[in-house]
Protein backbone atom coordinates (compact mmCIF):
# COMPACT_ATOMS: atom_id res chain seq x y z
CA UNK A 1 0.00 0.00 0.00
CA UNK A 2 1.42 3.38 -0.91
CA UNK A 3 1.67 6.30 1.45
CA UNK A 4 -1.08 8.09 -0.39
CA UNK A 5 -3.66 5.39 -0.08
CA UNK A 6 -2.81 5.00 3.58
CA UNK A 7 -3.37 8.67 4.10
CA UNK A 8 -6.65 8.49 2.23
CA UNK A 9 -7.74 5.59 4.42
CA UNK A 10 -6.83 7.63 7.50
CA UNK A 11 -8.86 10.61 6.33
CA UNK A 12 -11.85 8.43 5.55
CA UNK A 13 -11.63 6.71 8.95
CA UNK A 14 -11.35 10.03 10.80
CA UNK A 15 -14.25 11.39 8.76
CA UNK A 16 -16.37 8.39 9.73
CA UNK A 17 -15.56 8.74 13.42
CA UNK A 18 -16.55 12.41 13.33
CA UNK A 19 -19.41 12.51 10.86
CA UNK A 20 -21.25 9.17 11.25
CA UNK A 21 -22.64 9.98 14.71
CA UNK A 22 -23.45 13.48 13.49
CA UNK A 23 -25.22 12.16 10.42
CA UNK A 24 -27.51 10.07 12.61
CA UNK A 25 -28.44 13.31 14.41
CA UNK A 26 -29.27 14.92 11.10
CA UNK A 27 -31.31 11.94 9.96
CA UNK A 28 -33.18 11.80 13.26
CA UNK A 29 -34.05 15.48 13.08
CA UNK A 30 -35.94 14.90 9.83
CA UNK A 31 -37.45 11.51 10.69
CA UNK A 32 -41.19 11.53 11.14
CA UNK A 33 -41.54 7.76 11.24
CA UNK A 34 -38.62 5.39 11.80
CA UNK A 35 -39.11 1.86 13.15
CA UNK A 36 -36.87 -1.16 13.42
CA UNK A 37 -35.58 -2.92 11.27
CA UNK A 38 -35.52 -0.14 8.65
CA UNK A 39 -32.10 1.33 7.90
CA UNK A 40 -33.55 4.74 7.04
CA UNK A 41 -36.74 6.53 8.16
CA UNK A 42 -39.88 5.48 6.43
CA UNK A 43 -41.19 9.01 6.42
CA UNK A 44 -39.18 12.24 6.54
CA UNK A 45 -40.23 15.87 6.80
CA UNK A 46 -39.94 19.15 8.65
CA UNK A 47 -42.67 18.34 11.17
CA UNK A 48 -40.38 18.30 14.21
CA UNK A 49 -38.38 21.35 13.11
CA UNK A 50 -41.65 23.26 12.91
CA UNK A 51 -42.74 21.88 16.25
CA UNK A 52 -39.48 22.86 17.91
CA UNK A 53 -39.65 26.40 16.59
CA UNK A 54 -43.00 26.90 18.29
CA UNK A 55 -42.05 25.38 21.62
CA UNK A 56 -39.61 26.12 24.42
CA UNK A 57 -36.56 25.92 22.20
CA UNK A 58 -36.53 29.62 21.44
CA UNK A 59 -36.77 30.46 25.11
CA UNK A 60 -33.92 28.03 25.83
CA UNK A 61 -31.91 29.65 23.08
CA UNK A 62 -32.42 33.23 24.29
CA UNK A 63 -31.99 32.37 27.98
CA UNK A 64 -28.87 30.37 27.21
CA UNK A 65 -27.31 33.18 25.22
CA UNK A 66 -28.32 35.79 27.78
CA UNK A 67 -26.69 33.79 30.58
CA UNK A 68 -23.58 33.13 28.50
CA UNK A 69 -23.17 36.83 27.66
CA UNK A 70 -23.61 37.96 31.26
CA UNK A 71 -21.22 35.27 32.51
CA UNK A 72 -18.61 36.25 29.91
CA UNK A 73 -18.80 39.97 30.63
CA UNK A 74 -18.65 39.52 34.41
CA UNK A 75 -15.78 37.05 34.12
CA UNK A 76 -13.80 39.45 31.91
CA UNK A 77 -14.35 42.36 34.27
CA UNK A 78 -13.09 40.32 37.21
CA UNK A 79 -10.36 38.40 35.44
CA UNK A 80 -8.47 40.97 33.38
CA UNK A 81 -7.25 43.02 36.36
CA UNK A 82 -6.82 39.93 38.55
CA UNK A 83 -4.81 38.02 35.93
CA UNK A 84 -2.67 41.08 35.21
CA UNK A 85 -1.85 41.50 38.88
CA UNK A 86 -1.08 37.78 39.26
CA UNK A 87 1.14 37.82 36.18
CA UNK A 88 3.09 40.98 36.97
CA UNK A 89 3.24 41.82 40.64
CA UNK A 90 4.90 39.81 43.39
CA UNK A 91 1.61 38.76 45.00
CA UNK A 92 2.06 36.77 48.20
CA UNK A 93 0.54 33.26 48.22
CA UNK A 94 0.16 33.32 44.42
CA UNK A 95 -0.01 29.51 44.05
CA UNK A 96 -2.62 29.40 46.80
CA UNK A 97 -4.82 32.00 45.08
CA UNK A 98 -4.64 30.09 41.81
CA UNK A 99 -5.40 26.86 43.67
CA UNK A 100 -8.55 28.35 45.22
CA UNK A 101 -9.94 28.87 41.74
CA UNK A 102 -9.21 25.24 40.90
CA UNK A 103 -10.69 23.88 44.11
CA UNK A 104 -14.34 23.52 42.99
CA UNK A 105 -13.08 21.41 40.06
CA UNK A 106 -11.07 19.16 42.33
CA UNK A 107 -14.19 17.66 43.91
CA UNK A 108 -16.90 15.66 42.14
CA UNK A 109 -19.13 18.20 40.45
CA UNK A 110 -22.46 16.84 41.59
CA UNK A 111 -22.02 17.30 45.37
CA UNK A 112 -20.49 20.74 44.80
CA UNK A 113 -23.46 21.82 42.72
CA UNK A 114 -26.04 20.25 45.04
CA UNK A 115 -24.57 22.14 47.97
CA UNK A 116 -24.41 25.36 45.98
CA UNK A 117 -28.06 24.90 45.03
CA UNK A 118 -29.08 24.67 48.67
CA UNK A 119 -27.07 27.78 49.43
CA UNK A 120 -28.43 29.70 46.46
CA UNK A 121 -32.03 28.86 47.43
CA UNK A 122 -31.31 30.22 50.92
CA UNK A 123 -30.31 33.59 49.44
CA UNK A 124 -33.27 33.47 47.08
CA UNK A 125 -31.25 32.95 43.92
CA UNK A 126 -32.32 29.37 43.24
CA UNK A 127 -34.29 28.87 40.06
CA UNK A 128 -33.29 32.32 38.85
CA UNK A 129 -31.02 33.54 36.09
CA UNK A 130 -28.73 35.16 38.66
CA UNK A 131 -28.15 31.85 40.41
CA UNK A 132 -27.30 30.11 37.15
CA UNK A 133 -24.90 32.93 36.25
CA UNK A 134 -23.15 32.50 39.60
CA UNK A 135 -22.84 28.72 39.26
CA UNK A 136 -21.44 29.14 35.74
CA UNK A 137 -18.87 31.59 36.97
CA UNK A 138 -17.42 29.04 39.37
CA UNK A 139 -16.22 27.12 36.34
CA UNK A 140 -15.67 30.06 34.02
CA UNK A 141 -13.31 31.84 36.40
CA UNK A 142 -11.00 28.82 36.45
CA UNK A 143 -10.54 28.89 32.69
CA UNK A 144 -10.30 32.63 32.55
CA UNK A 145 -7.89 33.24 35.43
CA UNK A 146 -5.49 30.52 34.35
CA UNK A 147 -5.50 31.34 30.65
CA UNK A 148 -5.34 35.11 31.08
CA UNK A 149 -2.55 34.96 33.63
CA UNK A 150 -0.62 32.95 31.04
CA UNK A 151 -1.55 35.47 28.36
CA UNK A 152 -0.24 38.43 30.36
CA UNK A 153 2.88 36.45 31.26
CA UNK A 154 3.58 35.99 27.58
CA UNK A 155 3.91 39.77 27.16
CA UNK A 156 7.54 40.51 28.09
CA UNK A 157 7.86 42.78 31.09
CA UNK A 158 10.57 44.82 29.36
CA UNK A 159 7.92 46.13 26.94
CA UNK A 160 6.10 47.76 29.84
CA UNK A 161 9.31 48.95 31.43
CA UNK A 162 10.24 50.65 28.18
CA UNK A 163 6.96 52.60 28.33
CA UNK A 164 7.32 53.46 32.03
CA UNK A 165 10.90 54.50 31.42
CA UNK A 166 9.72 57.06 28.85
CA UNK A 167 7.27 58.56 31.33
CA UNK A 168 4.13 56.43 31.11
CA UNK A 169 2.20 55.71 34.27
CA UNK A 170 1.69 52.07 35.22
CA UNK A 171 -1.89 52.23 34.01
CA UNK A 172 -0.91 53.89 30.74
CA UNK A 173 1.75 51.23 30.16
CA UNK A 174 -0.87 48.53 30.77
CA UNK A 175 -3.42 50.23 28.58
CA UNK A 176 -1.16 51.09 25.65
CA UNK A 177 1.22 48.10 25.68
CA UNK A 178 0.09 45.01 27.59
CA UNK A 179 -3.62 45.17 26.85
CA UNK A 180 -3.32 45.45 23.05
CA UNK A 181 -0.68 42.73 23.00
CA UNK A 182 -2.85 40.47 25.17
CA UNK A 183 -5.99 41.06 23.11
CA UNK A 184 -5.80 37.90 20.97
CA UNK A 185 -5.39 35.87 24.15
CA UNK A 186 -8.23 37.69 25.86
CA UNK A 187 -10.47 36.96 22.87
CA UNK A 188 -9.50 33.28 22.98
CA UNK A 189 -10.20 33.14 26.69
CA UNK A 190 -13.52 34.95 26.22
CA UNK A 191 -14.63 32.42 23.63
CA UNK A 192 -13.73 29.55 25.94
CA UNK A 193 -15.77 31.05 28.76
CA UNK A 194 -18.72 31.77 26.46
CA UNK A 195 -18.74 28.21 25.14
CA UNK A 196 -18.40 26.76 28.62
CA UNK A 197 -21.40 28.73 29.83
CA UNK A 198 -23.47 27.87 26.76
CA UNK A 199 -22.79 24.14 27.16
CA UNK A 200 -22.89 23.89 30.95
CA UNK A 201 -25.45 21.31 32.03
CA UNK A 202 -25.19 19.92 35.58
CA UNK A 203 -25.14 23.21 37.44
CA UNK A 204 -27.82 24.75 35.26
CA UNK A 205 -30.12 21.78 35.77
CA UNK A 206 -29.68 21.70 39.55
CA UNK A 207 -29.79 25.43 40.22
CA UNK A 208 -32.09 26.61 37.48
CA UNK A 209 -34.74 23.93 37.09
CA UNK A 210 -37.53 24.16 36.45
CA UNK A 211 -37.59 27.88 35.82
CA UNK A 212 -34.39 28.51 33.91
CA UNK A 213 -34.09 26.71 30.63
CA UNK A 214 -30.93 26.55 28.52
CA UNK A 215 -30.25 24.47 25.42
CA UNK A 216 -28.43 21.57 27.13
CA UNK A 217 -31.18 21.30 29.77
CA UNK A 218 -33.83 21.49 27.07
CA UNK A 219 -32.08 18.78 25.13
CA UNK A 220 -31.88 16.58 28.20
CA UNK A 221 -35.57 17.01 28.93
CA UNK A 222 -36.63 16.15 25.41
CA UNK A 223 -34.33 13.14 25.17
CA UNK A 224 -35.56 11.60 28.44
CA UNK A 225 -39.04 12.13 27.06
CA UNK A 226 -38.04 9.88 24.12
CA UNK A 227 -38.55 12.73 21.70
CA UNK A 228 -35.38 11.81 19.88
CA UNK A 229 -36.19 14.12 16.97
CA UNK A 230 -36.43 17.17 19.21
CA UNK A 231 -33.28 16.20 21.09
CA UNK A 232 -31.43 15.81 17.78
CA UNK A 233 -32.54 19.21 16.56
CA UNK A 234 -31.47 20.94 19.77
CA UNK A 235 -28.15 19.08 19.68
CA UNK A 236 -27.58 20.32 16.14
CA UNK A 237 -28.43 23.86 17.15
CA UNK A 238 -26.13 23.67 20.14
CA UNK A 239 -23.31 22.64 17.83
CA UNK A 240 -23.53 25.74 15.66
CA UNK A 241 -22.17 28.34 18.12
CA UNK A 242 -19.58 25.80 19.23
CA UNK A 243 -18.23 25.27 15.72
CA UNK A 244 -18.28 28.98 14.86
CA UNK A 245 -16.50 29.98 18.05
CA UNK A 246 -13.93 27.18 17.83
CA UNK A 247 -12.99 28.30 14.33
CA UNK A 248 -12.48 31.80 15.73
CA UNK A 249 -10.57 30.40 18.70
CA UNK A 250 -8.20 28.57 16.43
CA UNK A 251 -7.33 31.91 14.83
CA UNK A 252 -6.57 33.72 18.07
CA UNK A 253 -5.00 31.01 20.23
CA UNK A 254 -1.22 31.16 20.16
CA UNK A 255 1.04 28.37 21.27
CA UNK A 256 2.97 30.76 23.55
CA UNK A 257 -0.01 30.94 25.86
CA UNK A 258 0.07 27.22 26.43
CA UNK A 259 3.79 27.24 27.09
CA UNK A 260 3.22 29.90 29.76
CA UNK A 261 0.87 27.71 31.79
CA UNK A 262 3.74 25.99 33.53
CA UNK A 263 5.34 29.30 34.49
CA UNK A 264 2.43 31.01 36.21
Amino acid sequence: MTRRTMRMAGVVLAGMVIFLPLSSLVIWSFAEKWYWPHLFPQQTGLFYWAKVMQGDLLRALTDGFLIAIVVTVLTLVITIPLAYVLARLPVPFKPLILMIFLLPQAFPQLPVFVNSTTLLYQVNLGGKLGGVVLIHMVGALVFAVWTMTAVFKSVPEALEEAAINLGASRFKAFYSVSLPLATPGIIASTLLVFLYSLDEFTGTLLVGSPFVLTLPVYMYRTSVGYELQVASISALMLMVPGIVLLVLLERYMKSEYLSMFGRI
Binding site: N165, G167, K172
Partner: protein, 347 residues
Protein backbone atom coordinates in the same frame (compact mmCIF):
# COMPACT_ATOMS: atom_id res chain seq x y z
CA UNK B 1 23.70 66.49 30.12
CA UNK B 2 24.06 65.70 33.76
CA UNK B 3 26.47 63.99 36.07
CA UNK B 4 25.14 60.84 37.69
CA UNK B 5 26.32 59.89 41.14
CA UNK B 6 25.57 56.80 43.14
CA UNK B 7 26.53 56.82 46.80
CA UNK B 8 26.91 53.66 48.82
CA UNK B 9 24.09 51.86 47.04
CA UNK B 10 23.01 48.55 48.57
CA UNK B 11 20.44 46.07 47.34
CA UNK B 12 19.45 42.70 48.75
CA UNK B 13 17.50 40.05 46.84
CA UNK B 14 16.25 37.83 49.61
CA UNK B 15 19.48 36.77 51.27
CA UNK B 16 21.71 37.56 48.31
CA UNK B 17 23.41 40.94 48.38
CA UNK B 18 23.38 42.11 44.76
CA UNK B 19 25.03 45.47 45.48
CA UNK B 20 27.35 45.82 48.42
CA UNK B 21 27.68 49.57 48.73
CA UNK B 22 28.58 50.89 45.28
CA UNK B 23 29.76 54.50 45.02
CA UNK B 24 30.62 56.08 41.71
CA UNK B 25 30.52 59.24 39.61
CA UNK B 26 29.41 58.92 36.01
CA UNK B 27 30.94 61.87 34.21
CA UNK B 28 28.59 64.23 32.44
CA UNK B 29 28.60 63.85 28.67
CA UNK B 30 30.81 60.78 28.79
CA UNK B 31 30.22 57.11 28.06
CA UNK B 32 30.83 54.90 31.06
CA UNK B 33 30.86 51.14 30.66
CA UNK B 34 30.00 48.91 33.59
CA UNK B 35 31.81 45.66 32.93
CA UNK B 36 31.60 42.39 34.80
CA UNK B 37 30.61 38.74 34.64
CA UNK B 38 26.95 37.74 34.86
CA UNK B 39 25.55 38.12 38.34
CA UNK B 40 28.10 40.77 39.33
CA UNK B 41 25.41 43.38 40.01
CA UNK B 42 25.98 45.54 36.94
CA UNK B 43 22.41 45.29 35.69
CA UNK B 44 21.08 45.85 39.21
CA UNK B 45 23.12 49.05 39.38
CA UNK B 46 21.80 50.22 36.01
CA UNK B 47 18.20 49.44 36.97
CA UNK B 48 18.67 51.27 40.25
CA UNK B 49 19.68 54.35 38.28
CA UNK B 50 16.65 53.94 36.01
CA UNK B 51 14.43 53.56 39.07
CA UNK B 52 13.13 50.09 38.27
CA UNK B 53 14.74 48.80 41.44
CA UNK B 54 14.22 50.36 44.83
CA UNK B 55 17.55 50.38 46.59
CA UNK B 56 17.79 49.41 50.25
CA UNK B 57 20.42 51.95 51.18
CA UNK B 58 22.36 54.81 49.62
CA UNK B 59 21.48 57.61 47.21
CA UNK B 60 21.24 58.19 43.48
CA UNK B 61 21.83 61.77 42.28
CA UNK B 62 21.38 63.37 38.87
CA UNK B 63 23.42 66.56 39.12
CA UNK B 64 22.31 68.05 42.41
CA UNK B 65 18.90 66.36 42.43
CA UNK B 66 18.42 63.40 44.72
CA UNK B 67 16.28 60.99 42.65
CA UNK B 68 16.49 58.05 45.06
CA UNK B 69 12.77 58.21 45.91
CA UNK B 70 11.62 59.22 42.41
CA UNK B 71 9.64 56.60 40.42
CA UNK B 72 11.10 55.62 37.02
CA UNK B 73 8.50 57.68 35.11
CA UNK B 74 9.85 60.93 36.52
CA UNK B 75 13.58 60.34 36.37
CA UNK B 76 14.09 61.43 32.77
CA UNK B 77 16.30 58.51 31.84
CA UNK B 78 15.91 56.53 28.66
CA UNK B 79 16.84 52.91 28.41
CA UNK B 80 17.92 50.67 25.56
CA UNK B 81 17.22 47.04 26.34
CA UNK B 82 19.08 43.89 25.38
CA UNK B 83 16.11 42.43 23.49
CA UNK B 84 15.19 45.86 22.02
CA UNK B 85 11.78 45.90 23.81
CA UNK B 86 10.11 47.52 20.82
CA UNK B 87 6.32 47.39 20.88
CA UNK B 88 5.35 44.92 18.16
CA UNK B 89 1.82 46.28 17.72
CA UNK B 90 3.03 49.80 16.89
CA UNK B 91 4.76 51.02 13.73
CA UNK B 92 8.35 52.25 13.79
CA UNK B 93 7.04 55.80 13.92
CA UNK B 94 4.61 54.85 16.69
CA UNK B 95 7.42 53.37 18.74
CA UNK B 96 9.73 56.34 18.41
CA UNK B 97 7.02 58.97 18.93
CA UNK B 98 5.61 57.32 22.09
CA UNK B 99 7.69 59.32 24.55
CA UNK B 100 6.92 62.63 22.84
CA UNK B 101 3.19 61.82 22.77
CA UNK B 102 3.31 61.29 26.53
CA UNK B 103 4.87 64.72 26.86
CA UNK B 104 2.01 66.17 24.78
CA UNK B 105 4.40 67.64 22.23
CA UNK B 106 2.52 69.18 19.24
CA UNK B 107 2.03 66.76 16.35
CA UNK B 108 4.09 68.76 13.85
CA UNK B 109 7.05 68.90 16.20
CA UNK B 110 6.74 65.16 16.96
CA UNK B 111 6.99 64.43 13.26
CA UNK B 112 10.00 66.69 12.83
CA UNK B 113 11.89 65.31 15.83
CA UNK B 114 11.11 61.64 15.09
CA UNK B 115 12.29 61.90 11.49
CA UNK B 116 15.39 63.78 12.57
CA UNK B 117 16.37 61.18 15.14
CA UNK B 118 15.64 58.31 12.75
CA UNK B 119 17.99 59.96 10.32
CA UNK B 120 20.57 60.35 13.08
CA UNK B 121 20.55 56.63 13.85
CA UNK B 122 20.71 55.90 10.11
CA UNK B 123 17.61 53.76 9.87
CA UNK B 124 17.76 54.04 6.08
CA UNK B 125 14.49 54.29 4.21
CA UNK B 126 12.34 56.86 6.05
CA UNK B 127 9.36 56.72 3.68
CA UNK B 128 7.63 53.70 5.20
CA UNK B 129 8.33 54.11 8.91
CA UNK B 130 4.66 54.91 9.47
CA UNK B 131 3.48 51.62 8.03
CA UNK B 132 6.23 49.16 8.88
CA UNK B 133 6.29 47.33 12.20
CA UNK B 134 9.49 46.45 14.06
CA UNK B 135 9.18 42.73 13.23
CA UNK B 136 9.92 43.60 9.59
CA UNK B 137 13.39 44.84 10.58
CA UNK B 138 16.63 42.99 11.23
CA UNK B 139 17.99 42.85 14.79
CA UNK B 140 20.50 45.61 14.13
CA UNK B 141 17.83 47.86 12.62
CA UNK B 142 15.51 47.15 15.54
CA UNK B 143 18.16 48.23 17.99
CA UNK B 144 18.65 51.43 15.98
CA UNK B 145 14.92 52.12 16.35
CA UNK B 146 15.15 51.40 20.08
CA UNK B 147 18.04 53.85 20.30
CA UNK B 148 16.03 56.46 18.39
CA UNK B 149 13.09 55.94 20.75
CA UNK B 150 15.40 56.63 23.68
CA UNK B 151 17.23 59.62 22.17
CA UNK B 152 14.16 61.42 20.81
CA UNK B 153 12.96 62.42 24.29
CA UNK B 154 16.33 64.07 24.94
CA UNK B 155 16.87 62.22 28.21
CA UNK B 156 19.19 63.36 30.96
CA UNK B 157 20.88 59.99 30.95
CA UNK B 158 21.01 57.24 28.35
CA UNK B 159 21.07 53.78 29.89
CA UNK B 160 22.04 50.76 27.83
CA UNK B 161 21.69 47.20 29.08
CA UNK B 162 23.84 44.96 26.87
CA UNK B 163 22.25 46.50 23.76
CA UNK B 164 24.47 44.65 21.29
CA UNK B 165 24.68 41.19 22.79
CA UNK B 166 21.75 39.76 20.80
CA UNK B 167 23.32 40.75 17.48
CA UNK B 168 25.74 38.78 15.36
CA UNK B 169 29.41 39.66 15.46
CA UNK B 170 29.61 41.75 12.29
CA UNK B 171 26.57 43.93 13.07
CA UNK B 172 27.77 44.26 16.65
CA UNK B 173 31.13 45.65 15.61
CA UNK B 174 29.59 48.19 13.25
CA UNK B 175 26.94 49.34 15.71
CA UNK B 176 29.58 49.65 18.40
CA UNK B 177 31.48 52.22 16.36
CA UNK B 178 28.23 54.03 15.55
CA UNK B 179 27.12 54.12 19.16
CA UNK B 180 30.38 55.77 20.09
CA UNK B 181 30.00 58.35 17.30
CA UNK B 182 26.38 59.07 18.22
CA UNK B 183 27.12 59.48 21.89
CA UNK B 184 29.90 61.96 21.15
CA UNK B 185 27.71 63.80 18.63
CA UNK B 186 24.75 64.12 20.99
CA UNK B 187 26.99 64.64 24.00
CA UNK B 188 24.73 62.74 26.34
CA UNK B 189 25.71 61.11 29.62
CA UNK B 190 25.63 57.41 28.80
CA UNK B 191 25.95 54.33 30.97
CA UNK B 192 26.56 51.08 29.19
CA UNK B 193 26.35 47.67 30.82
CA UNK B 194 28.19 44.77 29.22
CA UNK B 195 29.94 41.52 30.00
CA UNK B 196 32.09 41.83 26.88
CA UNK B 197 35.47 43.31 27.80
CA UNK B 198 36.34 44.15 24.20
CA UNK B 199 33.10 46.12 23.84
CA UNK B 200 33.70 48.01 27.08
CA UNK B 201 37.25 48.92 26.11
CA UNK B 202 36.26 49.99 22.60
CA UNK B 203 33.24 52.09 23.55
CA UNK B 204 33.78 53.77 26.85
CA UNK B 205 35.60 56.81 28.13
CA UNK B 206 35.62 55.20 31.55
CA UNK B 207 35.40 51.52 32.37
CA UNK B 208 33.98 50.37 35.70
CA UNK B 209 34.82 46.80 36.56
CA UNK B 210 32.41 45.02 38.89
CA UNK B 211 32.45 41.66 40.61
CA UNK B 212 30.19 40.14 43.26
CA UNK B 213 28.24 43.34 43.90
CA UNK B 214 31.29 45.51 44.28
CA UNK B 215 33.18 47.96 42.13
CA UNK B 216 36.66 46.50 41.67
CA UNK B 217 38.35 49.15 39.57
CA UNK B 218 37.53 52.34 37.68
CA UNK B 219 39.68 53.92 35.01
CA UNK B 220 40.26 54.64 31.37
CA UNK B 221 40.18 51.59 29.08
CA UNK B 222 43.97 51.79 28.79
CA UNK B 223 44.41 51.88 32.58
CA UNK B 224 42.09 48.99 33.14
CA UNK B 225 43.66 46.86 30.44
CA UNK B 226 47.30 47.58 31.09
CA UNK B 227 47.27 47.96 34.87
CA UNK B 228 44.62 45.64 36.26
CA UNK B 229 44.48 46.07 40.02
CA UNK B 230 43.58 42.55 41.02
CA UNK B 231 43.93 39.00 39.78
CA UNK B 232 40.22 39.04 38.93
CA UNK B 233 40.61 42.20 36.83
CA UNK B 234 43.59 40.80 34.99
CA UNK B 235 41.87 37.51 34.33
CA UNK B 236 38.61 39.11 33.20
CA UNK B 237 40.27 41.51 30.78
CA UNK B 238 41.77 39.10 28.34
CA UNK B 239 42.59 35.55 27.49
CA UNK B 240 45.11 34.87 30.16
CA UNK B 241 46.85 32.20 32.03
CA UNK B 242 46.08 32.26 35.70
CA UNK B 243 48.65 30.18 37.52
CA UNK B 244 49.27 29.40 41.15
CA UNK B 245 52.69 30.27 42.44
CA UNK B 246 54.65 30.92 45.59
CA UNK B 247 57.13 33.69 46.38
CA UNK B 248 60.02 33.10 48.77
CA UNK B 249 63.51 34.70 49.00
CA UNK B 250 63.14 36.77 45.83
CA UNK B 251 62.16 33.70 43.85
CA UNK B 252 58.82 32.86 42.28
CA UNK B 253 57.99 29.17 41.93
CA UNK B 254 55.46 28.09 39.29
CA UNK B 255 54.74 24.40 38.73
CA UNK B 256 58.07 23.41 40.23
CA UNK B 257 60.12 25.88 38.17
CA UNK B 258 61.78 28.87 39.78
CA UNK B 259 62.26 32.33 38.28
CA UNK B 260 63.63 35.51 39.83
CA UNK B 261 61.05 37.96 41.21
CA UNK B 262 61.58 41.45 42.67
CA UNK B 263 57.97 42.54 43.39
CA UNK B 264 56.25 43.17 46.73
CA UNK B 265 54.18 39.98 46.98
CA UNK B 266 55.18 37.30 49.50
CA UNK B 267 53.87 33.78 50.07
CA UNK B 268 51.13 32.20 47.96
CA UNK B 269 50.46 34.17 44.80
CA UNK B 270 48.38 34.26 41.63
CA UNK B 271 50.43 34.78 38.48
CA UNK B 272 48.72 36.18 35.38
CA UNK B 273 50.31 35.95 31.96
CA UNK B 274 48.51 37.06 28.78
CA UNK B 275 48.60 34.43 26.09
CA UNK B 276 49.50 37.13 23.55
CA UNK B 277 52.52 38.29 25.57
CA UNK B 278 54.20 34.89 25.69
CA UNK B 279 56.78 34.02 23.06
CA UNK B 280 57.77 30.48 22.27
CA UNK B 281 61.46 29.65 21.81
CA UNK B 282 63.64 26.71 21.19
CA UNK B 283 64.86 25.47 24.61
CA UNK B 284 68.44 25.48 23.31
CA UNK B 285 68.44 29.23 22.50
CA UNK B 286 70.45 31.52 24.76
CA UNK B 287 68.33 33.07 27.51
CA UNK B 288 67.55 36.79 27.20
CA UNK B 289 67.90 39.27 30.07
CA UNK B 290 64.85 40.96 31.69
CA UNK B 291 62.66 38.02 30.80
CA UNK B 292 60.98 35.21 32.63
CA UNK B 293 61.32 31.76 31.13
CA UNK B 294 59.56 28.46 31.76
CA UNK B 295 60.19 25.21 29.94
CA UNK B 296 57.50 22.81 28.90
CA UNK B 297 56.14 20.49 26.24
CA UNK B 298 53.99 21.91 23.44
CA UNK B 299 51.07 19.48 23.22
CA UNK B 300 48.65 21.07 20.82
CA UNK B 301 48.32 23.96 18.39
CA UNK B 302 44.90 25.27 17.35
CA UNK B 303 44.17 27.66 14.50
CA UNK B 304 41.83 30.44 15.73
CA UNK B 305 41.75 32.59 12.62
CA UNK B 306 43.80 35.59 13.67
CA UNK B 307 46.51 33.46 15.31
CA UNK B 308 47.43 30.00 16.53
CA UNK B 309 46.89 29.09 20.15
CA UNK B 310 49.43 26.66 21.56
CA UNK B 311 48.84 24.59 24.65
CA UNK B 312 52.04 23.92 26.57
CA UNK B 313 52.31 21.58 29.52
CA UNK B 314 54.47 22.92 32.33
CA UNK B 315 54.58 20.35 35.12
CA UNK B 316 50.97 19.77 36.23
CA UNK B 317 49.54 22.84 34.49
CA UNK B 318 48.82 23.88 30.91
CA UNK B 319 49.82 27.35 29.68
CA UNK B 320 48.27 29.01 26.62
CA UNK B 321 50.41 31.06 24.25
CA UNK B 322 49.40 32.77 20.99
CA UNK B 323 51.64 33.03 17.95
CA UNK B 324 51.29 33.97 14.31
CA UNK B 325 52.58 30.62 13.08
CA UNK B 326 51.92 27.06 14.19
CA UNK B 327 54.74 25.25 16.03
CA UNK B 328 55.57 21.58 16.02
CA UNK B 329 54.89 19.70 19.24
CA UNK B 330 57.79 18.96 21.54
CA UNK B 331 59.97 20.71 24.12
CA UNK B 332 59.78 24.52 24.10
CA UNK B 333 60.75 27.47 26.24
CA UNK B 334 58.15 30.11 27.12
CA UNK B 335 59.56 33.60 27.36
CA UNK B 336 57.91 36.85 28.35
CA UNK B 337 59.20 40.24 29.52
CA UNK B 338 59.38 40.42 33.31
CA UNK B 339 57.19 43.55 33.47
CA UNK B 340 54.38 41.68 31.71
CA UNK B 341 54.18 39.08 34.44
CA UNK B 342 51.52 40.15 36.93
CA UNK B 343 51.83 38.67 40.39
CA UNK B 344 49.04 39.15 42.94
CA UNK B 345 49.05 38.02 46.55
CA UNK B 346 46.31 35.60 47.49
CA UNK B 347 43.77 37.04 49.89
Amino acid sequence: MVEVRVENVRKMYGKVEALKGASLNFKSGAMTAILGPSGCGKTTLLRSIAGFIQIDEGRVLFGNDDVTELPPQHRGTAMVFQNYALWPHMTIFGNVSYGLRLQKVPEAEIRRRVLKVLELVEIGNLSDVETRKPAALSGGQQQRVALARALVVEPKVLLMDEPLSNLDAKVRQRLRAELRRLQKQVGITAIYVTHDQEEALALADTVVLMNQGQIIQTGTPQDIYLKPGTAFAAEFLGVSNQLEGEVADGKLTIAGQTVSYAGPVRGKAVVIMRASDIQIEDPAATPRPETMALTGILEESLFLGAHYRQYIRVGRIVVMADSADPRPTGAVRLVLPSEKVQVYGQP
